[in-house]
């Protein structure tokens, strides 16, 4: 009988096994138990630290944040203030007539325009020359995707213009290189800079990202059929220069995420002294008038933080100050209204 009972047990174990295979493994030996194997993980007993929001920690944290943020804020504000920046908006002043759109769209009008600025502070080279456009939506869904990255890179992909509508192919179905709205609307104002009457070279070499020149724009791809349509968008391209050397295009095709943006035009590799007169002769070709946008010329030096940007410094100082005052406030509150709330007699059901 004992043997039978043993058999029964054995079978029972097996059938249970089949019913609940998730439960236990290896059960053919009746000596093994179903007891779960112990490990700290399975028993949810892994050693853990339990940080609590005690007043000490929180006050210290806020004080620390404050103490960290204020110096960073001061440093970035300082850096930003060191940057010398000249911004001169010229879109209105460079059009002498009321019908601004008509003026700019007329290809026969003389669009030359001269602006003069006085440098307030010593500007150390390199001085970046930017053009600033406001109200231009390079991030518009229809605009931003109207390009063909493959076509820009591979010679064999010249026909891949399906993404470029409505500037993909010419009327007789020849692919435009570079295709798309982005390239088509290339900025075409030009600047000639004179410092104190002396023509100063604006270096247009290496204004685009090196990675773009090397990897995004092909060295053996030349513009073709570009700006040959009924409507001329922006600048034309020299068809004998490969795309990888068309740095203005490369800069332009790094689309801006915001409707107000600056793009690098070139660099002046010469220091400019305070009170020097900078005269810029502008070929005012680009149409920002039809959509009410504005254009400006920017001369700026740079610091470790980039161009002039007071926002970060001010934000840091504000947050740092707020944190410090929060820390103070909490400290005062902690002193005045001491609460030993870790007392279980405070629990509603113990009262």
């Amino acid at each position: 009988f004992i043997f039978d009972f043993f058999n029964a047990r054995l079978h029972f174990g097996c059938s249970r096994m089949q019913m609940y295979p998730l439960e236990m493994e290896g059960n053919s030996n009746p000596k093994t138990t179903n007891k779960p194997k112990y490990s700290k993980f399975t028993q949810q007993e892994l050693p853990a630290c339990k940080p609590l929001l005690t007043p000490e920690i929180v006050i210290a944290a806020f004080a620390l944040i404050g103490a960290l943020f204020v110096p960073i804020g001061l440093a970035s504000l300082h850096a930003s203030r060191q940057v010398v920046e000249l911004v001169h908006r010229y879109d209105a002043s460079c059009v002498p007539v009321d019908d601004k759109v008509g003026f700019i769209q007329n290809s026969r009008t003389d669009k030359t325009c001269t602006v003069t600025m006085t440098v307030p502070k010593y500007m150390k080279s390199p001085i970046h020359v930017y053009y600033l456009i406001d109200g231009f939506y390079q991030n518009h869904r229809r605009y931003v995707r109207s390009r063909s990255d493959k076509q820009l890179r591979y010679k064999s992909a010249a026909h891949l213009t399906s993404d470029c509508v409505p500037e993909g192919d010419t009327a007789d179905h020849a692919p435009i290189v570079p295709c798309g709205l982005v390239a088509w609307s290339l900025f075409n104002d030009t600047y000639t800079v004179r410092v104190n009457g002396v023509v100063t070279q604006v270096n247009k070499k290496d204004i685009a990202w090196k990675s773009d020149k090397n990897n995004k724009f092909g060295k053996n791809i030349y513009p073709s059929n570009f700006q040959k349509g009924r409507l001329i968008g922006g600048a034309t391209l020299n068809e004998s220069i490969p795309l990888s050397e068309q740095e203005d295009l490369i800069v332009w095709m790094r689309t801006a995420a915001l409707p107000t943006f600056r793009k690098l035009y070139g660099r002046i590799e010469k220091d400019i002294n305070a009170n020097d007169n900078v005269t810029v002769v502008i070929q005012n070709n680009y149409n920002t008038y039809s959509f009410g946008g504005s254009k400006a010329l920017v001369l700026s030096t740079a610091s470790w933080i980039g161009g002039k940007n007071n926002f970060i410094g001010i934000a840091y100082l504000t947050i740092g100050g707020l944190c410090l005052s929060l820390a103070m406030g909490f400290l005062v509150l902690y002193m005045v209204k001491r609460r030993n709330f870790g007392d279980p007699s405070n629990l509603s059901w113990n009262r």
């Binding site: 009988f1 039978d4 058999n7 079978h11 029972f12 059938s15 089949q18 019913m19 295979p21 439960e23 138990t33 179903n34 007891k35 779960p36 112990y38 399975t42 949810q44 892994l46 853990a48 339990k50 929001l53 007043p55 929180v58 970035s76 930017y130 231009f136 939506y137 390079q138 991030n139 869904r141 229809r142 931003v144 609307s185 990675s211 995004k216 968008g233 689309t255 801006a256 995420a257 915001l258 409707p259 600056r262 793009k263 149409n287 959509f291 470790w304 980039g306 161009g307 926002f311 840091y316 947050i319 707020l322 944190c323 709330f341 870790g342 007392d343 279980p344 405070n346 629990l347 113990n350």
Partner: protein, 1110 residues
Amino acid sequence: MKRFVYINDESYQNDYCDNQISNTKYTLWNFLPKNLWEQFRRFMNQYFLLIACLQLWSLITPVNPASTWGPLIVIFAVSATKEAWDDYNRYISDKQANEKKVWIVKNGARKHIQAQDIRVGNIVWIRENEEVPCDLVLTGTSEPQGICHVETAALDGEIDLKTRVIPTTCIGLDSEQLHKIKGVIECPIPDKDIRRFDANIRLFPPFIDNDICPLTINNTLLQSCYLRNTEWACGVAVYTVHTQFSLEGKHVDNVCLKERLCLLDNTLCVAVEIYSNEIIKIIIIRIHENNTAPCSHHMSGNETKLGMSRGVPEPKLTAMDAMIDKLTGAIFLFQLAVVVVLGSAGNVWKDTEARKQWYVKYDDDEPWYQILVIPLRFELLCSIMIPISIKVSLDFVKSMYAKFIDWDEEIYDQETDTPAHAANTAISEDLGQVEYILTDKTGTLTENKMIFRRCCIAGTLYGNESGDALKDIELLNAVADNSPHVIKFLTVMALCNTVIPIKSPSGTISYKAQSQDEDALVNAASNLHVVLVSKNGNNAGQQIKTFVDAVDKYAQLGLRTLCLGWRELSLEEYLEWSRLFKEANSALVDREWKVAEVCQKLEHTLDILGISAIEDRLQDGVPETIEILRQSGINFWMLTGDKQSTAIQIALLCNLISSEPKGQLLYINGKTEDEVARSLERVLLTMRITSSEPKELAFVVDGWALEIILTRYKEAFTELAVLSKTAICCRVTPSQKAQLVKLLKSCDYRTLAIGDGGNDVRMIQQAHIGVGISGREGLQAARAADYSIGKFRFLKRLILVHGRYSYNRTAFLSQYSFYKSLLICFIQILFSFVSGIAGTSLFNSVSLMAYNVFYTSIPVLTTVLDKDLSEKTVTQNPEILLYCQAGRLLNPSTFAGWFGRSLYHAIVVFLITIHAYANEKSEMEELSMVALSGSIWLQAFVVTLEMSSFTFLQFLAIWGNFAAFYVINLCISTIPTAGMYTIMFRLCRQPSYWITMLLISGVGMGPVLALKYFRYTYSPSAINILQKAERSRGPMYTLVNLESQLRSEQGNSTNSILTAPVKNKNSVYEPLLSDSPMASRRSLASSSFDIFQPAQSRVPAAYPRNIKTS
């Protein structure tokens, strides 16, 4: 309709289908379409598919379609692979079962064939320890008495052996004759009532006679039983695998569909458990399909009807799932609103502004659908509001919760070697939200280990002093003296039952009983030298048990009483009755009722011999468990089949109700409708009046009154149910139990039903959570249940620890999932305001996909390890469960908090990014990466702040993921064709990038931290208070351990301490607390104090003192 099975006659065999098992859900050809079809029946999947399809339209898609298709395909592939693997395993095990060799008789000779070729009418031979391949009617066994033993554990989990007998007409056939017998078995077609097998067998001449012989379930061998203790047996196949999934057991009535499906095969059962309810429907449909082909003329959807009549259990949805669904719906509406508003704004902007933007080059004449383009773009942009990852994350954490239950050592029962098991992996959160527990008594609260304690024979009470009749000298003397009354009493006790004696070769006799009571009686009798050796031939004692609730005394002691009586029958009287009995037994209709009627004829004018009293001890830890769970705000209802006085006694013993001064018991009884109505009215009135008093009220109702109430006065009773925290329902039937659960469910309460026997199965299936105790009555309840545990006391840990943690974790995980998707979505929306409301995506496809799938979903998965309070603290302060019950951690207002936070964080990220990266830096790819990194920084801090405890795994997941973000993006930045080539390197070199990140984190987290701290300190929740208390109690753990040891020792010593009221915890300790020298002596002092005053260091009391002394 009847079925005629011709034994051993091949000409009829083709009418019925073969024995081939096929449980596979798919074939090689239909797998893909069928699986996809099933997956797409879920709303979420349809939604994502629609989004993914819309993305294929390149005009409107803001991102590469891969960002949706990628995750979608991964998710679908994962579940399809899982399905395929399960189905393959099913196929393999089907094949094994089908190709198993069995012996059958063919043309008068035995042949070895495969199990799948068995036909109805074949005679199948089985040897010891073999599995029965299909349902058989026994025709012969190796035992001369014509019996055999089977084990039905695979069906109902009962490990005791059951006896099966061959029909009388086949008795005496030797194996030679068995090869040749011919005959016909008239049996019902496989029907939905599987409790019975009401059939006849008639053998053809020359075999014995052509009398019709009745067949019962006792003459059958059912599929997947095992033959035990019998050398061989043979039988006629009556139902092949396709045709009946019958099941035997005393509680068959309640056997759930799930269990019967287990018969199909075991792997299927696993699938049923894993996929809970979805699959059940599928299986039923399949059964239908399978049977319509060869067996249509007698199956005709029968099994489907069967499935339906048993009630396919409703898929259980936790309260949390319902809430998450509701929130998802709200977010969906919000999304639609955003789409409508921004879509029309976009169209207006397009017509007024964008047409002036010559560089955008809008056509003047557009196709009609242009008006839809911008709204649809926004729909796609906002589609990430509903996180595609939430389903997967929830499934993952839920299966982890279930695993933790399976793995938990503390709810492993040493005694029976049963670990806890979560069969339903999807409802752990509900455990933490239980409001009502409906519990069975016998076997659940008590051990169901019956011990014969007292008896009353011919007016003499035995066993009163010692509490054990078997040690009572008087009774032993009476037995020795052959006192006729006593001997008669013991004889009846030993004979009138269904116990099977099994004699082992060594000569010892053991008993196999289906009822624990009978086992106790027979064992007691054998201890008093009345030994049941064999039960052959003696049919006289057909169960003449009559339950008379006489001796109140025993019932008062919580003992189960049985009244024994006898009557002498004359031979004629017996023969007449025996004929009637046989007739009734061979009836094909209403057999049970007829048998009962015949028995009734015999059971009258009995002489009362005496009363036996059996003790059923409470399980360990039941009173404490009930006390703690009631403290946590859970209401207890006890539903029992026992009689009222016994039930009340047990309820008192296990802390369910308090005795008079503190508690009051209200009785609802009566025999007629009026009486019951008056009684109910009275109780309700008392309940209303005293509901403000701190008195513990409970009501008692019996099955009869309950039946009247449930049919006539349901509303009044519902009100009573809401008012009453405790109730005792005695003499209730299984269906009444289920009705009570339904009633409480209809009042919007979360119910948990716990039981151990087949009579609890309905209740267990009906309740939101069913817990089965794998007890002595078999595994039926445990099988049907969502959770099975070994002992009642484990319920405490299951609810307070597992349930509570699961709730907390899911609350965080689900809300966080919405937070992070909303965060990225709000940034997109904000960006659309500076991009001409044209639906440009700020983020590129890769980032969007990775954000949802990797960066934000992995750290938060470690929330499965998060513990806000230690297990000990929770058990000591069970009231904390209120937070889960009331759903305070996941509700529209907490969700609004997360919604607000994501909006705030989106604004912070966006504004800081566009200001810090303005002018010459405002390059699209860079700016998008800055915003994305800002979100990643914030989410890492948010997870850190919201987790309460950190193991190294959490630390690793949060900050490892953070590091992985940079590694991944640096890697992508090395791919020249990628849009973000060199971007990450560029950014990492810029000091302004890191400064911006720091600024975003500071601005984003500062207010969150300050707010949280302020709330934590100046209006702390109970959880916060306990967290703090836990911290300050740190060094005191040794004391707590010591106390819990003391406590367990006392627990064993007396029950009276535990039943005594323990509510006055504060008043007892207050004087000691203010005693400052005492407090300074710390742990040693107070623990020694405990030793001197052991009675006072009980559960609730232990806690406050610890705090003060530290």
